[in-house]
């Protein structure tokens, strides 16, 4: 009797241990997704609370559809666009709170800082908001995915299209810091390669509020196109003042980094006719409309490409965790890279060795007030740029992980 009991006990214990070890594949049986973003600064409209919402939507949808046997939790924090705050928070999350992946990370400086910490702690980073190309070049890591867009794709898409359509002489208004200069450099190369000419540029302090002096210099250059190699409030103020000084529509503006939130805030009267490149637009097809409508009901704004990409990247990550049956960073990343991405955001998207998620980009032209049917009906999609043309080819990569 005792023997049998003992045997049962031993069997149960062994089974429990076995089951336990199966669960231990996912630490604490919980996958924790951290959203580290700009909640209050310049980028809070294009990422911020909307990115947190998109993440929550991804988690809810994943749990409802995939019924995983692990829990998924969300934590979020404001990095205030400061590298030190971002890396400290990421470290705290990894060490004390068992966060599995840190995501979003708008602004290049915070992104690069957190990538280093994550690599050191063997965790995954998913980047939707930051734009600079060093993320997948000099600073690339094997545990990072640069998901939504980068400055190469934007410059490439917009500068090429505008030059081909006759805008063959350019003058740049450039924000005087690394991002603006990189954007100017990338765009100039594309303009020249497409047969256009760059007549000059002026570097304005960052941030600036009055652009009239710089705009008059651009006007005096006689260039057909004034390229805005800046972002956020600098871009919106420059566009508004160009209209005020009668520079547009005689000369045209090309915004090299513009989000739908910028167009919304400026209004169509100031932005009509402008070309821009985007990774997502809510009104592309039934799938994008359906998802965006759900987002809109909660946020009262249509999603930017950063927020849509955030949803897609988190969903792809969670599915990979489920498929791999572990939250081990290396195995999950291998699974993510092996699986193509097909959802409302990307068609046949894939993650390259340098961490670049390659997907189609869209060349959009801003509608005139007469063409728009109402708020958020802002873009004509003029061209779909296939992923392989949109992004920097691997042959030009400066990432040491890429074998040539």
């Amino acid at each position: 009797m005792h023997v049998r009991n003992l045997l049962t006990l031993a069997c149960t214990a062994a089974f429990a241990a076995l089951a336990g070890s199966a669960h231990a594949q996912i630490s604490g049986n919980t996958v924790k997704v951290g959203v580290l973003t700009d909640m209050s600064g310049t980028y809070s409209d294009l990422a911020g609370a909307g990115a947190v919402l998109a993440t929550q939507m991804a988690i809810d949808d994943f749990v409802a559809a995939e019924k995983p046997d692990f829990k998924v939790e969300l934590v979020s924090a404001d990095h205030q666009n400061k590298a030190d705050i971002a890396s400290n928070k990421a470290r705290e999350w990894f060490e004390r709170e068992g966060v599995d992946t840190v995501t979003e990370l708008v602004s290049t400086t915070t992104a690069l800082a957190v990538m280093k910490v994550a690599k050191e702690m063997n965790r995954i980073t998913l980047m939707s908001g930051p734009g600079s190309t060093p993320i997948t070049n000099e600073q690339c890591t094997d545990l990072n995915v640069h998901y939504t867009y980068d400055t190469y794709a934007l410059a490439n898409g917009t500068a090429r299209a505008v030059t081909q359509q006759g805008g063959d002489s350019w003058f740049f208004l450039t924000a005087d810091y690394a991002f603006g200069q990189a954007l100017e450099k990338d765009s100039s190369a594309v303009v020249t390669a497409t047969g256009g000419k760059v007549l000059g540029s002026v570097r304005h302090p960052f941030p600036a509020s009055d652009f009239s002096s710089f705009l008059l210099q651009a006007q005096a250059s006689g260039a057909k196109i004034i390229g805005l190699a800046n972002a956020g409030a600098d871009t919106t103020n420059a566009i508004k003042q160009a209209a005020e000084f009668g520079i547009t529509p005689k000369q045209q503006l090309a915004g090299l980094l513009m989000f739908i939130s910028d167009v919304h805030s400026l209004g169509l009267k100031n932005t009509q006719g402008m070309y821009l490149t985007t990774g997502f637009y809510w009104d592309l097809n039934d799938d994008t409309r359906a998802w965006s409508q759900r987002f809109f009901e909660k946020q009262k704004r249509m999603p930017t490409m950063v927020q849509a990409g955030q949803y897609s990247s988190v969903m792809h990550y969670l599915k990979a965790v489920k498929a791999a049956g572990t939250d081990d960073a290396g195995k999950v990343m291998a699974q993510m890279k092996a699986t193509p991405i097909n959802d409302f955001f990307a068609t046949n998207g894939r993650i390259r060795d340098d961490g670049r998620m390659v997907h189609d980009m869209y060349l959009a032209q801003v509608k005139s007030p007469a063409e728009s049917k109402g708020p958020w009906d802002y873009y004509h999609i003029r061209q779909t740029i296939p992923g392989d043309e949109a992004f920097q080819p691997l042959s030009e990569s400066r990432c040491p992980l890429v074998k040539k």
Binding site: S44, V202, S212, L216, A220, E244, G246, D262, G267
Partner: protein, 294 residues
């Protein structure tokens, strides 16, 4: 024809633009100078009050259909009243203390105001159209001058010199000046000094709101529009001489011109040129260009 290697047309237009920006500096630094001169408070909330002035105009137009011209009056009155409330409930308690306390209090208030507007309206800003009467521009030959910008110069200078006249040449101004020199004596003569001081703070704040309404059609109306400007305006006040009324007006215009020229010759330095001048002035004349010796 060229001036220092720059085509004269471009040179002329940059001077004019410098004058336009200078009038913003002048009207903002004037408000700060009045408040500092008469209350000894370094009003760090000035930028936030300027921002709120612009927002009141925007809200008035989009919510209530109140046009620009009415907003030009309404917004300074409302924000000025808010200033009066702040003075009565908070600032009043700090007059006997070090400058630092007033600075910290108003800085905190600025952060709160900006935070509330950021939370409510987001960061990208709102668009405010140029009023119909002032749309379009004049071709001056060397540049296209938007009528609205010309109006800004006229309006700002009128208000600046009106204020200077009121303080330096009228009886009310004389009371104000006397009240700051020797409040007990003036009080003994039967003049309500605390009321004068409340009025002064309200007026200084109203000037900021007025500048905000002037700025609304030019810049995006955004919660951070004031914080970008306020540091430069403080430098203008320091260069002009803390508390000097005429000094702040003249310095505001002059620095606008210098900044405009820097944008042609060496644009990268245009954000710092004001501070370089501030350092030089402080070394040579610590009380500022127009300041009485400290």
């Amino acid at each position: 024809m060229e001036i220092f290697g720059i085509p004269s047309a471009l040179f002329g237009s940059q001077l004019l633009i410098g004058l336009i920006n200078g009038s913003f500096y002048a009207i903002l630094s004037l408000g700060l100078a009045i408040i500092f001169g008469l209350l000894n408070i370094i009003n760090f909330a000035h930028g936030a009050q300027y921002m709120m002035g612009a927002f009141v105009a925007w809200i008035a137009l989009t919510r209530f259909g109140i046009n620009y011209w009415a907003a030009l009056l309404l917004s300074p009155v409302l924000i000025g009243l808010l200033g009066v409330v702040l003075e009565r409930t908070m600032l009043r308690k700090l007059y006997k203390l070090d400058h630092l306390y007033g600075l910290l209090l108003t800085f905190g208030l600025a952060l709160i105001f900006e935070g509330v507007f950021r939370d409510r309206y987001g960061i990208s800003g709102q668009s405010y159209e140029v009023p119909e009467l002032l749309q379009g521009g004049i071709n001056l030959g060397f540049m296209f001058l938007p009528i609205y910008r010309a109006w800004v110069v006229v309006a700002a200078l009128t208000v600046c010199f009106g204020t200077w006249f009121m303080i330096e040449k009228t009886k009310l101004g004389a009371y104000l000046r006397a009240g700051t020199e020797n409040p007990q004596m003036v009080q003994a003569l039967g003049i309500n000094v605390p009321l004068l001081i409340t009025f002064t703070y309200g007026y200084g704040v109203a000037l900021a709101a007025f500048a905000g309404v002037l700025a609304a059609p030019i810049y995006q109306v955004s919660p951070m529009m004031g914080s970008n400007l306020i540091i430069v305006v403080f430098a203008v006040v320091v260069i002009g001489g803390m508390g000097s009324i005429m000094g702040s007006i003249v310095t505001g215009l002059g620095l606008g011109l210098i900044e405009g020229l820097t944008r042609v010759f060496y644009p990268e330095a245009s954000a710092v040129v004001v501070f370089v001048i501030m350092v030089i002035v402080l070394l040579v004349r610590p009380a500022g260009l127009f300041g009485r010796t400290a």
